[in-house]
């Protein structure tokens, strides 16, 4: 039953006001700035260039490389997180031995500061003194250029992302698995369906809506990646691991190229909206069929 009482305005307005003030205003501010040529260092008075900043950006190879790097990190990392996370959640749900012990340890990484995690990763990936190097040296693979070669550095960043955020998928998938109805499995059991058939025939389709939501959340969050890269490689070597947020930070905070940075952040917003909408559009037919 919905009530209607004037006091409802007292309840909702503080939150609405804070969110409006902090999110809509910067939006208007940077939208208008993105049409200006406006630098603080060296100081140039603002001049209206309309879509000039956007045109420059779209011709800038560094922008496309940052977009590609970010997309690569987001998709590979989220794919791995989903595969590992779903697997571990299935195992935990099936009460593998020692399951209670695993739970706290498995949830830990996602609550830790990405900056601190990246620092630890730098030590572990150290090519001479790190424990990973010692381990790989036993297989004759000593002194790999973990963070100084573009491809390796990208792989290391993805590994850290997977380490940190798989717990989120485990948590959500486990919660989802616990709501699945028991009787469907009993029926499948009677028909002698193998575990493999049960997974693809029952578990996976029934978990699809939750999977879609969880992957969506992680994908959007992964596009914002900045702190891990900032600490681990600083975008290097060269600009091989530079992500969109890091690129915007370099342009805005180091060069104070305001109009350009505002245009960049808007292109970022447009890119993330396109990805989000495409993702939802692709999944919608699958989700509605199951209802």
């Amino acid at each position: 039953m919905m009530r209607n009482d004037p006091i409802k305005h007292v309840f909702i307005w503080p939150a609405v006001l804070v969110v409006l003030a902090i999110s809509i205003f910067p939006l208007i501010y940077s939208l208008t700035t993105s049409f200006l040529s406006y630098r603080l260092i060296p100081p140039i008075p603002p001049r209206v260039v309309w879509l000039g900043n956007y045109a420059t950006l779209l011709q800038e190879p560094r922008f496309w490389s940052a977009l590609f790097t970010t997309t690569l990190i987001a998709f590979i990392a989220v794919g791995l997180q989903y595969a590992i996370g779903f697997g571990v959640a299935l195992a935990l749900n099936a009460r593998v031995p020692g399951e209670r012990l695993f739970r706290v340890a498995l949830l830990l990484p996602m609550l830790l500061a990405p900056v601190a995690v990246a620092l630890v990763a730098r030590m572990i990936f150290n090519p001479t003194m790190g424990p990973l190097n010692q381990f790989l040296a036993k297989f004759g693979l000593a002194n790999l250029p973990f963070l100084t070669n573009g491809h390796w550095a990208l792989a290391c960043i993805i590994a850290v992302e997977v380490w940190q955020w798989t717990p989120f998928i485990i948590l959500m998938m486990l919660a989802g698995l616990q709501t699945l109805p028991e009787d469907v499995y009993e029926a499948a059991e009677l028909e002698n369906a193998s575990a493999w058939q049960q997974f693809w025939g029952i578990t996976f389709p029934m978990m699809l809506p939750i999977s879609a939501a969880v992957v969506f959340i992680r994908l959007i969050e992964s596009y914002k990646i900045m702190d891990t890269v900032f600490v681990m490689t600083g975008g290097g070597p060269g600009v091989d691991t530079e992500t969109l947020t890091l690129f915007a930070y370099q342009e805005g905070f180091k060069k104070f190229n305001l109009g350009y940075t505002s245009a960049l952040s808007f292109l970022f917003l447009i890119a993330i909206t396109i990805i989000g909408v495409t993702y939802l559009a692709l999944l919608r037919p699958h989700l509605e069929k199951r209802r």
């Binding site: 309840f11 003030a21 205003f25 609550l111 947020t245």
Partner: protein, 345 residues
């Protein structure tokens, strides 16, 4: 809860699955173990190559922590306090006003015309341009003038029979949650410029408690509203209806009945928000520079300051990590099955 999904497996493959989980668990725990032992190493214990077991491989020492406390590598003690103060206040404020909004969205009916929303946006944008370009106000002044005008006009417009769809509670909730989709760099950068221009008017927001907390409250609100809505929906409506028969006012129903009944949910939400604020890097990077610097910024700085002094880097990372480790323990106790379930539906 039986183990469906694995029941059809042979004992041998069950063992294989258990080994797989164990391997993942080791991968998860090893870096944590590594940072803990490294923080207690002496410089020779680090440079000599990887060592793992205290007292056997190396002699543990507390020196890195003493160095940190004495401020040899930056003002750790004050930064820790900053993080604690900002984290606790932002999480408390966000949980309080977010819970109120979530309750309102669950129990009261709201109708917002899409037209009124458009009126707000166009007037805010147009008013800002008008005041700034035509009347020569500074940018923050123009924004501060346009905001109330647009807001009042939107509230009035909501009463008029404008054409276009009427948005309900679900849409308002979606609006809240969609704020989370925004790349934070869009806001962080604009907020930095806005704050510094307001600072030029004489009200310091950059590197201040108010500025940082306000921004964190706004950015935590979407999660709070999203999580709390499910907890409030689980509160049985009969209790509230009984109180309404006795003419108890709505705010007393909320504070006296609903809040105590969803205490667990509030606590969990508070902790999740606290973790989010505690770990946040980007906004702190833009909005602070010395006085109100938070831990992630100082920890990130350890990297470049002195090269490979791993004992100190580990101690610094540990200071940022340990409070959240303790919280993970607390949270996992509350994380009975299904606590977060509602959130993903």
């Amino acid at each position: 809860m039986s183990g469906h999904g694995l029941t059809g497996l042979s004992p041998w493959s069950r063992r294989l699955v258990a080994v797989g989980v164990l391997v993942w668990c080791l991968i998860t725990v090893f870096p944590l173990y590594w940072v803990v032992v490294t923080a207690f190493k002496t410089p020779p214990g680090v440079v000599g190559g990887p060592t793992y077991l205290p007292f056997i491989d190396f002699t543990p020492t507390l020196q890195p922590f003493i160095d940190l406390y004495q401020g040899i590598r930056g003002e750790f003690f004050r930064t820790f306090l900053n993080s604690t103060i900002v984290g606790l206040s932002a999480a408390a404020i966000a949980t309080a006003i977010g819970a109120m909004a979530a309750y309102a969205l669950v129990r009261f009916e709201f109708k917002v015309r899409l037209g009124a929303g458009l009126v707000f946006f166009l007037l805010a944008l147009g008013g800002y341009l008008l005041f700034n370009a035509t009347f020569g106000f500074t940018r923050p002044q123009a924004l501060l003038l346009a905001f109330p005008i647009a807001l009042i006009a939107a509230v009035v417009a909501n009463r008029l029979p404008l054409p276009g769809p009427i948005l309900g509670n679900e849409d308002i909730l979606f609006w809240f949650v969609s704020q989370r989709m925004f790349p934070p760099i869009v806001t962080a950068f604009a907020l930095y410029l806005l704050y510094s221009e307001i600072g030029r008017l004489g009200f310091q927001l950059i590197d201040s408690f108010v500025g940082l907390t306000l921004c964190y409250v706004a950015f935590s609100l979407p999660i709070v509203v999203w999580l709390m809505r499910d907890f409030f929906e689980a509160v049985p409506i009969e209790v509230e209806e009984a109180a309404m028969v006795d003419n108890v006012p709505s705010w007393r129903i909320f504070i006296g009945i609903v809040v105590p009944m969803s205490m667990n949910g509030l606590l969990a939400t508070f902790m999740i928000t606290l973790a989010f604020v505690w770990n946040e890097f980007l906004f702190a990077l833009f909005l602070t520079n010395s006085r109100w610097q938070t831990l992630p910024i100082l920890v990130a700085g350890q990297n470049s300051q002195r090269g490979d002094e791993w004992w100190a880097i580990s101690a610094a990372a540990l200071v940022a990590i340990v409070p959240m480790m303790i919280m993970a323990g607390l949270l996992s106790r509350m994380m009975r099955s299904g606590l977060l379930l509602g959130a993903i539906k």
